[in-house]
Symmetry: C2
DNA sequence: ATAATAAAAGACTAAAATGTCTTTTATTAT
DNA sequence: ATAATAAAAGACATTTTAGTCTTTTATTAT
């Protein structure tokens, strides 16, 4: 079990992939190519992208030459938007020991330690933009598969 | 979904509970009281503690006046031992985007960012000892339930 | 020795996450 | 208009995680 659900991992990787594959030339990229490019099961990824599309995080068009893409606003969005959409806000705000009532006035033993870590995760994901790695992804310096 | 599995959350909370409930007087505490004290399903917790017992992270004796306890060595162990035993090492070393081959020479886009966060989690859990919160747990300053 | 106690072990069930398949709808090129 | 394309939608199937129940084994007090 990682920090994120499998669904969320695929979501982030696919959005990175769509970003670098369609940036600039305003092209589209199909589900098959995305699934190959990030090494994910195609039908499962399809469901994930349908959801991201409904939520406006990625854009899509049907039919010939159709596929997924990102408009310029989407390229500027922070990764935290994807994580919040797919996995919810628990990773940013939830108690590390799973206590519903954990808070400043009713803290678990690790309350402050986890607050610190959660804040760092939140900050990192908020500062990182979807389109940020396009150059490195295009020249192969960064990997999205295996 | 939190940072840890539900199993691991219960494991950590129960070990904290056993620690503060049995420290000093070398007493024992039964599964029923532990489950109540950390607000967890009793039979599920029983399985978890059986596992921790097999691994030597907690101690136990059967029969009347039996129950779970922690010897002085166990009280000094870091929380990271519990997490590694229950959830494995992925949280300390795994790729944030789920890539098996992700590494310094084949990094995912968030490789360095995640390395930083994972190290902080590891350090925090390694520095925190099981018996560390006994005083605050005994006087009710810290909570393990709800 | 026996009865009572409490954890260990193992089989079982339920729910959630992950993954697959088929049909429908929208778009485009002819 | 029609055929081809590609995503959307929704019904399934599988696996993993979470949780339950019953029987066995070890310990202790009588």
């Amino acid at each position: 079990m990682g920090i994120f659900s499998k669904t969320c991992e695929y979501a982030i990787r696919s959005v990175f992939f769509i970003a670098h594959r369609t940036a600039g030339q305003s092209g589209r990229v199909g589900i098959k190519e995305i699934a190959l490019g990030i090494d994910s099961p195609e039908p499962f990824l399809a469901k994930i992208l349908q959801d991201l599309s409904r939520r406006g995080i990625v854009q899509s068009t049907k039919g010939p030459n159709g596929g997924f893409y990102l408009d310029s606003a989407s390229l500027e969005r922070p990764l935290s938007d994807i994580v919040a959409a797919v996995d919810g806000n628990d990773i940013f705000y939830g108690c590390g020991l799973g206590l519903k009532q954990c808070s400043e006035i009713n803290p678990c033993p690790l309350h402050n330690e986890f607050k610190d870590i959660r804040n760092k995760i939140h900050l990192m994901l908020h500062e990182t933009k979807i389109g940020e790695f396009n150059a490195e992804l295009m020249n192969g310096m960064l990997s999205l598969k295996k």
